[in-house]
Symmetry: C2
Subunit: 249 residues, 2 copies
């Protein structure tokens, strides 16, 4: 096989139907799968759906769908999220594509895995049918998932662990106003370090970035000294990045 024939194949596609020599390349599909992370103040969670049909009937799985013919990959991931939760405009990141020949029992389907970070309080079960089919699971209690979804989840969790330290994405999992303790708990439950972060050092570090603005109001209704509330200043972050700043925890 010469180089020009090898690399010519992509050149030579004359049509997109399934006839002719090129046809077999089109008996395949692609999907997106969405690892939707949430944080409830204690644990990192992932939103799973329970499958109603074969294959893997009754198994828990990542929400996902085939990509429509005229739909960009990101759009498909956003659609999956919106159909499940009603949420739009949230943090979405492509992580990795899984394409083992036999990963889907019914044919050749490669899937592009995405991470989504949502503020769990914004997520409301929008229909009764949902309540039975979608549920938050603690990240270490997901059990055996459908397809290769355990592998996908692991990849996405690794990515989250790395990224949460090098980009200000943790805030996507918290309500707009949060306490420093909540923020620290978030880091602790995502990172699962052998030792929890040191309270004083954590506060020093995060405040020294000058990315948090103090809210005028305080935490309310707690049986202890109420904490200050902070907001993440997106705009400032953008400025600082332009000046060469690199987020790092």
């Amino acid at each position: 096989m010469t180089i020009s024939s090898t690399f010519g194949r992509e050149n030579n596609q004359r049509n997109m139907d399934t006839t002719g020599e090129v046809g077999s390349f089109f008996k395949s599909a692609f999907s997106v799968d969405n690892v939707i992370f949430g944080f409830d103040g204690g644990d990192l969670k992932v939103l799973l759906i329970q499958r109603g049909q074969a294959p893997f009937k009754d198994k828990w799985a990542l929400p996902g769908d085939l990509v429509y013919p005229n739909e960009d990959l990101n759009t498909a991931a956003e659609r999956v999220l919106e159909q499940l939760t009603g949420l739009r405009g949230v943090y979405l990141e492509q992580v990795k594509t899984f394409g083992a020949v036999n990963r889907h029992p019914l044919g050749r389907v490669i899937t592009v895995a995405y991470i989504t970070l949502i503020k769990i309080s914004n997520y409301t079960v929008t229909a009764a049918s949902f309540a039975q089919s979608a549920k938050w699971h603690n990240i270490d209690e997901v059990g055996d998932l459908a397809f290769d979804h355990n592998e996908i989840l692991e990849s996405c969790l690794r990515r989250l662990k790395r990224k949460v330290r090098t980009a200000p994405i943790g805030f996507e999992l918290l309500p707009p106003k949060f306490t420093l303790t909540e923020l620290q708990q978030l880091y602790d439950s995502v990172l699962r370090l052998p030792k929890r972060l040191d309270k004083r050092n954590f506060r020093k570090k995060i405040l020294s970035m000058n990315l948090l603005v103090e809210c005028p109001e305080m935490q309310e209704g707690v049986a202890h000294r109420p904490a200050k509330l902070y907001q993440f200043d997106r705009e400032k972050y953008g400025q600082f990045v332009n000046e060469g700043f690199i987020f790092d925890i």
Copy 2:
């Protein structure tokens, strides 16, 4: 549209041909594109091919191909590399999948981008036909590429820049035995920092990791004091990683 119908679509694939309601999802294909990096002692290079046919005839492009029906994605990327260079078993990393609806003028083709790192001296033009169609380009002199390949290249370059600091992959671009100056030049040309790395600090840091073993022989045939040659100790690195070591430059 209910959730079960939405998320049932992937469930419901009954066959992989193109008939029936599901058919339109299979009028699509996927390819891999390979960003093959090399280093010649001075500059970071990327191996491009010149297209012989439309679309984008005569344009430079990343080597790539459609994925065979029974081929894993990684295998396809390895095949593309081997057909172009004859090399096997080199460093390969999936980076990102590009799937804009119109990225391919002839149909819906999503492509999975890979980085490959090769020791440029191992790459030999294996056929005369190659010489005309494949060529190393300096990383900042690639010009206008076919398809969305400029975007793909940028993504892969960003990934390389990050990864070269956090994993010992730079060695994949150097011959098995190299001098510390060569190693530093590699980092300088990949990272393109505003200031070049400091020679003494760089040596201190890299040697303090205890991952390089000194070779008995020295550099030869240079018109100056010959440098010590080093090898990267893969095995030791594996051990250290198990003990929690994190590579960082």
